[in-house]
């Protein structure tokens, strides 16, 4: 395989202490507003109003650090972090690390966004409500469903909301107790199983057939009058589109269940295929994935939750309505599950998604999807040529937006694991994420290029993968001892699962290691 120039990379390494180690008595980071003299005269110190037992006796053990030093600390830490803006972020498959346009950041930083209180009078937030309403209508078009709630704080929260609606629906039909099973698939996101289980459901997991697709026969065996519903990702983490998806929904519907579509990542199918055509009752999109809101080290986020007409009354309150003149909050959903997050959801994320859609339009969305798929299949073609790598399932077929690959052969032949390869990839400035458990695909790795990276960048990534695979055969120690060019070296994970040793806070670390500050 022709390889591209490998970057001579080294990550910024500041060897920065823990923030507490920077403390120096008498330093301060910020001047705080104090009460005016007249207030002090009128009220006293304010604290005397507290009963003694409610007073804090000793100031919290926070560090004392001057402002510039605090700034410097966090700036340095920031440099020690990749991020889609900095790297070719295609190795965190299932995460849709696409470009988050900077103009959208300018928009959300407006005081017209940041300084809004969620309980303001409707007349004072018409702009915000308009954005929420319009994004809802856009998502209706994109999914074919009838109404969205933008309240859930992430995809998993949206899944929980779907499970809650499914339960409320069966409750309304008096079948809630009987229908206590949710069906999902092993290549659906873990939250499809976990969030439904949190709602009290028993989980039935359908495993893949030899093509890597959820086995229809298993599904048929699984359904019964206990079936509450289906929660399924499609394309699943394998990137294979389930062509029998409509059969799945039919089987569930026939059994009296509802179908929830996990479209957290719909990045390959925008404008191509929709929840409606596959006959889903519910679906959700992660605005922080497909719709380009940045991931923020893990949120804040929005899982935009859509339903068909008959389920609108079950949505969390409020939703935003429009009476032809004014936008308003609609609490009048008689069967509402209540709420899944405080207030109205994460408005900045909603606004970014709105802006992203407005900058692309219908054709642009479809182009984004198409190029994401093009990029993915281009990579598939290349990875298959890397010695030791493979793309299990669906041989000879194309994939949608991502592929779950395997280093099984390489591990067998060299003893080098996905995790070790992932460490070595860091030396080239790349992420390679090992994906979620359970590792059905042995030594898995998942690549999802999205539409955002240029061919040259993709080629560079592949070259690095190829190089590391080669090293695994030729110089395995180099891979084993990696990373070499990163902030830190091989981490001792042994303490992290040991209650005697783990340290989730600095104070716990000091105690457990008997260090005096």
């Amino acid at each position: 395989m022709k390889t591209t120039r490998l970057r001579k990379f080294h990550q910024a390494k500041w060897d920065e202490p823990i923030i507490f180690e920077l403390t120096k008595k008498g330093e301060r980071g910020l001047l705080i507003s104090e009460a005016e003299k007249e207030i002090e005269e009128s009220i006293g110190d304010g604290i005397s109003a507290l009963p003694d037992k409610m007073k804090r006796k000793k100031a919290p053990g926070l560090p004392e650090i001057s402002q510039m030093r605090v700034l410097k600390h966090y700036l340095r830490l920031s440099q020690q972090c990749l991020g889609a803006d900095l790297n070719v972020d295609i190795g965190q498959g299932t995460c849709t690390m696409k470009y988050s346009p900077k103009i959208n950041e300018i928009l959300i930083r407006s005081p017209k966004v940041t300084e809004l209180h969620p309980l303001q009078d409707e007349s004072t937030v018409q702009g915000a409500l308009e954005i929420i309403y319009k994004l809802d209508t856009f998502l209706r078009e994109i999914s074919g469903l009838s109404q969205f709630s933008l309240q859930p704080g992430g995809g998993s929260s949206a899944i929980f909301a779907m499970a809650s609606i499914i339960r409320a629906y069966h409750e309304a039909n008096g079948e809630a107790e009987q229908r206590d099973e949710i069906i999902t698939t092993i290549f659906s996101h873990p939250s499809d199983a976990a969030a439904a289980a949190s709602k009290g459901y028993k989980i039935i997991t359908i495993f893949q057939d030899k093509d890597g697709l959820p086995d229809v026969e298993s599904l048929k065996n699984a359904v019964s009058n206990k079936t509450a519903g289906l929660l399924i990702t499609n394309p699943e983490d394998t990137g294979i589109f389930n062509p029998r998806i409509a059969e799945f929904t039919r089987i569930i519907h026939d059994a009296g269940g509802l179908c929830g579509y996990d479209q957290a990542n719909a990045n390959g199918i925008l404008g191509i295929t929709r929840a409606k055509e596959a006959d889903f009752d519910l679906c959700f999109f992660n605005l922080h994935k497909t719709f380009s809101s940045p991931h923020g080290c893990g949120g804040p986020a929005v899982g935009a939750l859509g339903v068909t007409k008959r389920l609108i009354n079950y949505l969390p309150v409020p939703i935003v309505g429009f009476d032809g003149e004014k936008y308003f909050l609609n609490y009048n959903l008689p069967r509402s599950i209540g709420k899944v997050r405080g207030f109205l959801g994460v408005f900045p994320v909603i606004l970014r998604a709105y802006a992203w859609i407005m900058s692309l339009g219908a054709l642009g969305l479809k182009e984004a999807a198409s190029i994401a798929v093009l990029n993915n299949n281009y990579i598939l073609n290349k990875v298959k040529q890397i010695h030791g790598a493979s793309a299990p399932y669906a041989k000879g077929r194309h994939r949608i937006e991502q592929v779950r690959y395997s280093w099984e052969k390489l591990t067998e032949e060299t003893g080098i694991s996905t995790e070790e390869i992932s460490c070595r990839m860091a030396d080239f400035g790349f992420h390679l994420w090992s994906s979620h458990h359970p590792f059905i695909v042995p030594q898995p790795f998942t690549i999802e290029p999205t539409e955002s990276y240029s061919k040259d960048e993709i080629d560079e990534y592949i070259s690095a993968l190829n190089e590391v695979a080669k090293e695994a055969y030729q110089n395995p120690e180099k891979v084993k001892n990696s990373p070499h060019n990163s902030v830190v070296h091989k981490i001792d994970n042994s303490t992290l699962d040991n209650p005697e040793k783990w340290a989730i806070t600095w104070r716990a670390y000091l105690k457990k290691n008997k260090i005096k500050e």
């Binding site: 980071g29 109003a49 037992k53 930083r109 077929r397």
Partner: protein
């Protein structure tokens, strides 16, 4: 989309025709449609998505959005006394500087090797919160206080093996909606009466309701209604005597001056960090925390990520990683603890920056200033004829109920009039707490100047003296 003359959209490099052609060739297909061959024709969407036309330029996008946003009136343009779960505090410049850094803004789920900075920043956040709370374990933030309370309750149930929770009936109605949905059908939520005078939980009611089924008691400090629940020790004791846990929701902003719940026996503490350096963002600034002592049986019940510190192959180097990752649903799917996904990590980093800046003295001063200013506001408001604040005879922090019943004017009318004077009056409580009549929840923080409080008082009394205001 603007694709004239075969140029790519700026967000989609490989739609440049030459590149695209090259890539198709390498894959060995003629066009992109072929790549979709797995999707049955019947499922293919034949129409065009019905969306407004793409805006032709970044400039047009900016103007379009700004025009919509200009319809908003903000808490900067107006004088706001809204609180009730989202608060207007001062956000130090550096908080935004850090959370706007491209590296933090666009990072996600990388390994501790490439994202050491993210791990360290969140570990430090946990550690700083731990000092404020005087507890040894704090999670990477969850969605918000609603979720943190819900999960704290579920954790208590798993820890105790019980499934009933008693909670104060002064918990925010919104939060209660979340808790109820999150707990149903696993947990039984029962409410406890409050003392109409002080707002505090009625201990007799509690004693009559607590039982061997009780997994925990949940209350808040300050409560949603602003007063402090001063019986913390007694409540925790009663819980513990009955084999239940004490779960306390707390406003971390108060903890420079007010004792943290761990000091009065709380086993699980939760709350929101929005007040610690995050803009309100129309409610998008919320982020929840959960804290416990460092005991295995507690730690193992968190659904959240818990970042821990450890060593590396190089002496003296700190490394970070997930503590007990296999608890999580990432590890165990439905066998994991509840579920985990994208939550509100960026606000955790931000709160860490905030606490680093504030230091012990800053948090003390902040607490004191808020105590003083809110007490001043209560005092002055109470000088208005027929108006009383606070409603409850108890110490308060930041928020308090203003009782307008004697004026006979409904809060709705008052707030309408205030709005005309560019004042956002306190949240109307009459729908959620009908028994209170015409009452509103006011919030006063360090950002309110004496002049502004005085002007609220002035406008309020003017408004209430106007003859044309609609009496209820």
């Amino acid at each position: 989309m603007n694709t004239k003359k075969g140029s790519a959209h700026p967000y989609i490099p490989n739609s440049a025709p030459e590149v695209k052609a090259k890539m198709l060739k390498e894959i060995g297909v003629n066009n992109i449609d072929e790549l979709y061959s797995d999707i049955p024709e019947t499922l293919k969407f034949k129409g065009n998505i019905n969306l407004p036309k793409a805006l032709p330029s970044e400039y047009a996008l900016k103007r379009h959005v700004e025009e919509i946003l200009s319809k908003n009136q903000t808490c900067e343009d107006n004088l706001s006394f809204l609180g009730g779960g989202c608060w207007q505090h001062y956000v130090p410049a550096i908080c935004d500087e850090i959370n706007q850094r491209s590296e933090f803004l666009t990072a996600y789920a990388g390994e501790p090797y490439e994202d050491h900075g993210r791990f360290q920043a969140l570990f430090e956040y946990e550690s700083l919160m731990a000092e404020l709370l005087d507890m040894d374990v704090v999670n990477v933030p969850t969605y918000d206080w609603c979720q943190a309370a819900s999960t704290s309750i579920r954790m208590a149930c798993r820890i105790t093996g019980r499934n009933e929770i008693l909670l104060s009936d002064t918990v925010s109605p919104d939060r209660l909606l979340v808790i109820n949905n999150y707990c149903r059908p696993i947990v039984n939520i029962k409410t406890l009466k409050h003392c109409p005078k002080t707002g505090a939980i009625d201990l007799n009611d509690l004693k009559s309701k607590i039982s061997p089924r009780t997994a925990g008691i949940y209350f808040e400090n300050p409560s949603y209604l602003g007063f402090l629940e001063s019986q913390g020790n007694a409540l925790s004791d009663i819980a513990h005597e009955n084999g239940a846990l004490s779960i306390v929701g707390v406003d971390p902003v108060s903890l420079g001056v007010i004792a943290p719940p761990s000091h009065y026996g709380a086993d699980i503490v939760c709350g929101d960090i929005q007040g610690l350096g995050v803009h309100m963002n129309y409610g998008g600034g919320l982020a929840g925390f959960i804290a416990t002592h460092d005991e295995e049986k507690f730690v193992m019940e968190y659904p959240s990520r818990l970042f821990g510190i450890t060593k590396t192959a190089v002496k003296g180097e700190y490394g970070f990683g997930d503590v007990a990752y296999d608890r999580t649903s990432f590890g165990l799917r439905e066998k994991g603890k509840e579920f985990i996904g994208t939550c509100s990590a960026l606000w955790g980093i931000t709160a860490g920056v905030y606490l680093s800046l504030m230091g012990p003295e800053g948090m003390q001063k902040l607490g004191k200033t808020i105590m003083q200013k809110s007490q001043y506001a209560m005092k002055k408001i109470s000088e208005i004829n027929g108006v009383k604040a606070p409603l409850f005879n108890a110490p308060h922090f930041k928020e308090f109920i203003v009782d307008f019943n004697d004026t006979k004017v409904p809060v709705k009318e008052i707030n309408k009039s205030l709005l005309k004077h560019a004042i956002f009056g306190g949240k109307d409580l009459s729908d959620d707490f009908p028994e209170l009549g015409s009452c509103a929840l006011y919030c006063v923080t360090e950002i309110h100047t004496k002049k502004e409080i005085d002007s609220l008082v002035q406008v309020l009394s003017d408004v209430l003296n106007k003859t044309d205001i609609k009496k209820g």
